[in-house]
C-alpha cells in the first residue's frame, strides 16, 4: 500500500486550482497546470550525483494594468528577471536532496527543498508567494489612521490585490512499520479587498487585509502487510492584525474578522482481507473564538465564548465478490455542535440603536451520508457501474430543519470498439424534507412562499457523455457533453429552475516526429429562473439569468529544426464569458452589458547551444477586456460611494530570454 503524499507539494497542487480560477472566470482554461512530473517520486532511480536543470530568465514586460500580473506572475513593469531550478542530488548510500524554485523574484513563486533517505527520514522546507490582482485603479477618499477611516476631499487611487506568503517545514521519519511526521506552516496575508460600510449611507472601501494563519500537524502511522493505522493532531490559529473600523464621528462601523483557532484529532485505519478493503476514520474537533467584542451600549459581555465541537466519522468497505463484480459502500457522519453562549444584544434600526434586542443563534448541523455502489463487468469491453447515495441533513433554527437527497446513478463504460472509449453517465436525484415552519428566530418578515434553494424540494437530472477516439496512432479526438437540470417544482418564490449544459471538443495530432498540434473548443451554458414578490404575496416579478462561456485554443510545437537544435512553438487561447439578466415585471427588460474576453498568445523558440545549454525566447501577449454595467464611477450617484469602475481593458506584452543549463 502506498499512501505517501508530501503536504507541501500537495498543497501547491491544490492551491493552483482555486488561485487560477480566482481571477475572473474567463481565465479558467488558461490554467497552466502545475507540472505533475516535477512532484513524482524519483527515488527508484539509482544514478548518483546531481541531476536536473537551472535557468535564469530576463526580459521585458509592458503593461498598463496590474491585472495582467495574474497571467504573467509578476506586477513588475519594464525589465524583469527570474530564476528557476530543479535539481536533485543522490549519493551512493541512497541519501537524496532536491531543490526546486519557480519564478523566484516574482509575486507568484515558490521554492522547495527536500532532503532525506527513502524509508528512513525526510525533511522538506517550502516557501510560496501567491498574489492575486483585482484592480490597480480603485478610488477612495478614505485614509486609514489606525482603525479610523479619515475622509479627504480628493479621492486617491489604490490597488486591490492580496498576497499570501507561506513558509512550511515538514519532517518525517520511518522505521520498520512505524512512521512519524510533523508539519508546521505559517502564512501571512496582506493587501486590500473591496468591502463596504454604512456611513449611514453605504461607502465602499478598500478593506485592509493583514493576518497570519499558523498551522501544525503531527502524526504517527503504524502499518503491517495488509493494514495501516494513523493517529494525527492538527491545530490552526488565525490572527487578524487588522482592526475594527470607525469613522471620526461614527463608532464601530465594521467588525474585523475575529482571531480563531481550530483543533482536530484524527484516528484512521485501513485493513485488507483477501479481496475486501475496509477503511475508517474518526475525527473530533473544536473551533474556538473568544476575541474581545466591541464594547458598546446593549452588549452585555466583554468577549464571547464561541465554541463549536465537531465529530466526523467515515466507514468504507469495498469488496471484489467475483472477478466480474465489485461492490462497495460507505457511511459518513458529521456533526457540528455549536456550544457557544447565547445573549441578547441591542440592534440598530438604520443607524440608531433602538430597543430591539436580538439573541444570537447557535446553529447545530448534523449530516449522514450513505453510499452503495456496484461495478460489474458485463463482458470484455463493457463495464456497468451503478449506485445509490443518500444524504440527510439536520440543521437547527431553520425554516426547514431536515432535508434528504436521494440519488441514483449509473455509468456505462464501453471499450469494445478499437481505439474508442465511451463513457455514459446518468444521474437522477430528488430532495425532500420536513415541513416548513416559521421560526421566531429567523426573519419574521419572510414571505411564507419563499423556498430557499438549498432547502427546497428539488429534482436533479444529469447526463454526461464522453468519447475518446484515436482513429490513427497519431491522432486523438475527445468529445464530451453534459446536461444537468434542477427543477424546484414546489417553489413559488425563489429559484425555480436551473440548467447547466455544454460541449467540449479536443484534438491532438502528432503530425510527424517533430510536429505536434492541438486544438480545443468548448462552450457552456448556465441558465436559471427565479420568482420574487414585491407585493409580499404570490410571485409578481421574475428574473432570468443566462450565462455562457466559450474557450477556444490551438497550438503547435515544431521540433527537430536546425539539426535538432531548434524548437518552435505557439499557443493561442480565446476565452469569453457573458451573462445576461432579464427582469420581467410589467414588461421584460434586460440588464446592461456584463461580459469579458481574453486573448492569450504564447510564442517561443528554444535553441540548444550544446547538450547542456539552451536559450529560449518567449513572447506572450494578453488582451483582456471586461465590462459590468453594475460598476459605477464615483460621480454617477449621490446615494452611495463606490470604488469607481473596476473594469479592465488592456493589452500587455512580455518578452523573455531564458538561459538554461542541464546538470
Amino acid at each position: 500500500m502506498n499512501f505517501k503524499l508530501n503536504i507541501i507539494t500537495a498543497s501547491l497542487l491544490l492551491a493552483s486550482a482555486p488561485v487560477l480560477s480566482a481571477n475572473f472566470a474567463v481565465s479558467q482554461a488558461n490554467i497552466t497546470q502545475v507540472d505533475q512530473q516535477n512532484y513524482q517520486c524519483k527515488r527508484c532511480e539509482v544514478n548518483s550525483g546531481y541531476r536536473g536543470n537551472v535557468s535564469v530568465a530576463a526580459g521585458y514586460i509592458e503593461s498598463d494594468d496590474v491585472h495582467a500580473a495574474n497571467a504573467f506572475g509578476t506586477d513588475q513593469d519594464g525589465f524583469v528577471a527570474t530564476a528557476n531550478a530543479d535539481v536533485q542530488y543522490q549519493n551512493a548510500d541512497g541519501y537524496q536532496a532536491k531543490f526546486q524554485t519557480h519564478q523566484l523574484g516574482y509575486e507568484n513563486s515558490f521554492a522547495l527543498m527536500s532532503a532525506g533517505k527513502p524509508g528512513l527520514f525526510n525533511i522538506d522546507a517550502g516557501y510560496q508567494l501567491i498574489t492575486t490582482y483585482q484592480s490597480g485603479d480603485a478610488q477612495s477618499n478614505l485614509y486609514y489612521d489606525q482603525g479610523t477611516l479619515v475622509g479627504s476631499t480628493l479621492p486617491y487611487a489604490f490597488e486591490l490585490s492580496q498576497q499570501r506568503e507561506k513558509m512550511a517545514l515538514q519532517a518525517e521519519v520511518q522505521h520498520d512499520m512505524y512512521q512519524g511526521y510533523v508539519q508546521f506552516d505559517t502564512e501571512d496575508k496582506s493587501g486590500y479587498t473591496s468591502s463596504s460600510v454604512m456611513n449611514p449611507s453605504p461607502v465602499n472601501i478598500g478593506l485592509v487585509v493583514d493576518s497570519t494563519t499558523d498551522s501544525f500537524t503531527a502524526g504517527a502511522i503504524v502499518n503491517g502487510a495488509n493494514w495501516l493505522t494513523e493517529l494525527s493532531y492538527f491545530v490552526s490559529q488565525y490572527d487578524n492584525n487588522s482592526q475594527d473600523l470607525s469613522f471620526t464621528y461614527l463608532d464601530d462601523v465594521y467588525a474585523a474578522a475575529p482571531d480563531n483557532e481550530a483543533h482536530q484529532v484524527s484516528l484512521s485505519g485501513q485493513y485488507q482481507l483477501d479481496s475486501t478493503v475496509m477503511s475508517g476514520r474518526f475525527i473530533v474537533g473544536r473551533m474556538i473564538q473568544d476575541d474581545d467584542l466591541i464594547s458598546m451600549n446593549g452588549n452585555p459581555i466583554q468577549n464571547w465564548d464561541g465554541e463549536v465541537d465537531t465529530t466526523d466519522a467515515t466507514l468504507k468497505v469495498s469488496s471484489m465478490l467475483s472477478n466480474r463484480l465489485r461492490v462497495g459502500g460507505s457511511y459518513d457522519y458529521s456533526n457540528r455542535e455549536n456550544n457557544s453562549s447565547v445573549f441578547e444584544f441591542q440592534q440598530y434600526t438604520f443607524n440608531d440603536l433602538n430597543d430591539t434586542f436580538k439573541e444570537n443563534i447557535a446553529t447545530d448541523i448534523e449530516r449522514a451520508t450513505y453510499k452503495l455502489n456496484a461495478k460489474y463487468r458485463i463482458s470484455q469491453g463493457y463495464r456497468l457501474q451503478a449506485g445509490y447515495d443518500r444524504e440527510e441533513i439536520d440543521r437547527s433554527y431553520s425554516v426547514r430543519e431536515e432535508t434528504h437527497d436521494d440519488t441514483l446513478w449509473g455509468k456505462l463504460s464501453i471499450r469494445a470498439i478499437d481505439n474508442v472509449i465511451i463513457d455514459i453517465k446518468a444521474e437522477h436525484s430528488n430532495r425532500d424534507g420536513s415541513t416548513y415552519q416559521t421560526d421566531e428566530l429567523t426573519s419574521s418578515e419572510e414571505n411564507a412562499l419563499m423556498r430557499k434553494y438549498y432547502l427546497a424540494n428539488r429534482t436533479r437530472n444529469n447526463v454526461e457523455l464522453s468519447i475518446n477516439h484515436t482513429p490513427l496512432n497519431w491522432l486523438g479526438v475527445d468529445i464530451s457533453a453534459h446536461y444537468a437540470k434542477d427543477d424546484y417544482d414546489d417553489t413559488v418564490i425563489g429559484l425555480t429552475e436551473s440548467e447547466d449544459y455544454g460541449v467540449n471538443l479536443n484534438l491532438n495530432a502528432t503530425v510527424s516526429k517533430h510536429v505536434s498540434l492541438y486544438g480545443f473548443a468548448s462552450q457552456q451554458w448556465i441558465n436559471s429562473a427565479q420568482a420574487s414578490s414585491q407585493s409580499y404575496s404570490t410571485a409578481d416579478w421574475y428574473t432570468d439569468v443566462e450565462d455562457e462561456f466559450i474557450n477556444i485554443g490551438t497550438g503547435i510545437h515544431y521540433g527537430g529544426l536546425l539539426q535538432n537544435k531548434l524548437t518552435l512553438g505557439a499557443d493561442y487561447l480565446f476565452s469569453n464569458s457573458n451573462s445576461d439578466t432579464y427582469i420581467t415585471s410589467t414588461g421584460t427588460t434586460p440588464y446592461g452589458d456584463y461580459y469579458s474576453y481574453n486573448h492569450s498568445v504564447n510564442m517561443y523558440a528554444n535553441y540548444n547551444l550544446s547538450n547542456e545549454m539552451a536559450l529560449k525566447l518567449t513572447y506572450r501577449y494578453e488582451r483582456y477586456y471586461d465590462t459590468d454595467d453594475a460598476q459605477m464611477s464615483l460621480d454617477e450617484t449621490t446615494s452611495f460611494i463606490t470604488l469607481g469602475e473596476l473594469n479592465h481593458n488592456y493589452s500587455a506584452h512580455q518578452v523573455m530570454l531564458n538561459f538554461s543549463y542541464l546538470l
Binding site: 499512501f3 503536504i7 500537495a10 492551491a15 486550482a17 475572473f24 472566470a25 479558467q28 483585482q134 508539519q183 473591496s194 463596504s196 453605504p202 493576518s211 494563519t213 495501516l228 494513523e230 490552526s236 488565525y238 465594521y254 467588525a255 474578522a257 475575529p258 481550530a262 473551533m287 473564538q289 466591541i294 464561541g306 463549536v308 466526523d312 441591542q346 440598530y348 444570537n360 446553529t363 440543521r395 426573519s443 419572510e446 414571505n447 412562499l449 419563499m450 430557499k452 438549498y454 418564490i493 425563489g494 427565479q530 414585491q534 409580499y536 428574473t543 439569468v545 457573458n578 439578466t581 427582469i583 415585471s585 427588460t589 446592461g592 456584463y594 453594475a630 450617484t637 446615494s639 452611495f640
Partner: protein, 108 residues
C-alpha cells in the same frame, strides 16, 4: 503523512484550511455559509467574481423575500445602492457573518 490526513472531513473544512478567517465561529452567522460554502460559490468557476453561482442581488433574492427591500425589483444594475457597485453587499457587507454585537443584519 497519508492522503487521509490531508483530506479534510468536509467541504467547509477544506475551504477553512486556506480561508481561516471564515472559520469563526462568529456571533451572527449567516446560516448558508455555516452549512456549505458551495451553496453560493461554484468551485468549477462561474462568470461572476468570487466564483459566485449568481451575483447580488439575484443570489440574495433566491433566498430572501422579506417584506420590504429584499424583494424589490432591481431594474438596472448601475443606478442605485441596490443594483450598483456591490448591490445588496453595499449595506450587507459582512456576508460571511459578523462579530459585531449589533451585527445581526450583517451590516457591520
Amino acid at each position: 503523512m497519508t492522503e487521509s490526513a490531508l483530506n479534510k472531513p468536509s467541504i467547509n473544512d477544506t475551504c477553512y484550511s486556506c480561508h481561516a478567517e471564515k472559520r469563526g465561529p462568529v456571533l451572527w452567522e449567516h446560516a448558508p455559509v455555516t452549512e456549505n460554502c458551495v451553496t453560493c460559490h461554484n468551485p468549477h468557476g462561474s462568470v461572476n467574481e468570487s466564483m459566485l453561482t449568481h451575483r447580488a442581488p439575484q443570489l440574495c433574492q433566491q433566498c430572501h423575500a422579506d417584506d420590504g427591500h429584499a424583494s424589490r425589483v432591481v431594474q438596472q444594475p448601475g443606478v442605485d445602492a441596490f443594483g450598483g457597485g456591490k448591490s445588496c453587499l453595499n449595506c450587507h457587507s459582512q456576508i460571511h457573518g459578523s462579530n459585531h454585537p449589533a451585527g445581526s443584519t450583517l451590516q457591520r
